[in-house]
Symmetry: C2
Subunit: 326 residues, 2 copies
Amino acid sequence: MKKVGIREVAQEANVSTATVSRVLNNRGYISQETRDKVQAAMKKLEYYPNDLARALYKKRTYTVGLIFPSNVHPFQAELIQDIEYLLSNQGYKVLLCNSLNNPEKEIAYLTMLKKNQVDGIIVGTHNKHIDGYKNTKLPVIAIDRDLGKNTATVSCDNYAGGQMAVQLLIDRGCKQILDIRGDSSIKLPANERTVAYRDLMKKYSLESHVLEVPFVLAADQKRQIIEDYLGSHPQIDGIFAGDDLLASLAIFYLETHHKKVPDDVKVIGFDGAKETLLYNPRLTTIRQPIEQIARTATEKLINEIKGQKETDQLKLPVTLFTGHTV
Amino acid sequence: MKKVGIREVAQEANVSTATVSRVLNNRGYISQETRDKVQAAMKKLEYYPNDLARALYKKRTYTVGLIFPSNVHPFQAELIQDIEYLLSNQGYKVLLCNSLNNPEKEIAYLTMLKKNQVDGIIVGTHNKHIDGYKNTKLPVIAIDRDLGKNTATVSCDNYAGGQMAVQLLIDRGCKQILDIRGDSSIKLPANERTVAYRDLMKKYSLESHVLEVPFVLAADQKRQIIEDYLGSHPQIDGIFAGDDLLASLAIFYLETHHKKVPDDVKVIGFDGAKETLLYNPRLTTIRQPIEQIARTATEKLINEIKGQKETDQLKLPVTLFTGHTV
């Protein structure tokens, strides 16, 4: 389909392109008759003023790239939705870039966003060794990811979240507590949860059990790792899971292997996305302040776009959602 | 932040803009020395060839708008993710537009997409009375929505899905089966599920019970409607829910009101998104062929962009996911 430009409008209205341009910009003298003719032609041909041309001229596209692993994972999905909502209220469009935990895909998106002159990027991926965000002049805000001192990062207070979860398990009598965490070789704010776990194990003289389940694995692989571990460690009576999916996988394994949750094993998750709790209101979890993370990241990005450099490393407060699994 | 153009690159390399342009387009004679100087300047200034300028010139943006109610609802989230993946493999970018069931927001997105010269739109919203998709020259493909004979629609075989679900409940001995459905005043392919339900109730001489829960309501309102209904209709022994959220809400109500699922009441959902089944592997549901819907809609959209008009109303086959709730 050929797109309609002012040339086609001018032809249809039988006027010059300069006249069409004057009508569009409300500039110079135009008779009502000519104005009506041009507007009728625009309507007939479905002409819309070209925001692309304007963006090129003004060197501002009002477009933001969101690079996240997936818009399906409930925490990221809610975050993306909140960010898209807030940005659209400020007149920004959102290009959705699901990296699917593929570093090559992430690098290709980054190049595409730069070629398309986006005004800024919000990134929340967990891939290692992506250099394109550092030392770029493009405004970039990170969520749950450490891109160095020069890039602002927004995350929840992971240490406080870890403390809250593990203290609850201890208070409810758990003695053999398992911490299911992500890949420890990636530098992420979430690593603080395990620091909190270890501090509490030490404080209460409890044995540490840490199981690494890399975030980037497929769900079936995650399930297998958890099942293998729980199958060979029947003494575990409490689980602090790195996210609600890991918690759900553990609960399903336990319940289909004749362990009652919470009577025999207590399980607490992390994230607490609205959608997760709608479908799984029984789950006890640490809720991240998703709307607040989205709002903070969006505000900081817009500040950067307007020329104010942001470098804060912010930690926003978490809360406990009391379900029926602890 | 001021964006870098070929003028800045020319200045940095101390050559003319025409020379930069020749390097970029690999045209005309350029000495290796000049070429190296220009490329060094591009690297230093982080210059990326401007895809916006190219789009404007070629009248093709390789951008597609996705207008859906939400990227959080598991079915739509998976659909959006699959479509984004398929389109990105074909060199298209995706503008994410969550209408949040707000008709004004939907209309504003539609105008924004037209102004930004997108090559096409895939729409899966449930708002009434939005005329902007009809009689437009822009390629539009609908998913689960009827936009008239001129627009191709892709959906699952809703009648077969309804039959499969209700027949299963009947086979398992249910006599008082409730159909929880969306707003019957909207013309949607999903309405066929209730047609299948009524046909089976008639065939087996069973009493019909239909509860409307509009899709656009907030989750708390949906929960309230379901709880009120089930509270005042204790005879219900089988539920065919319009989606997995409605099924989950019903199951939670029943289980917290001393009814066992599936012993006392059997419940079957609809959609069966991967993420839902990861978190709720106990749920019995009708699975939509999400990947196939995404692939078909994407192919049809690209065909339309290339000039081949698509008007099929396609119904893709569903399958039963056997959990533990029927």
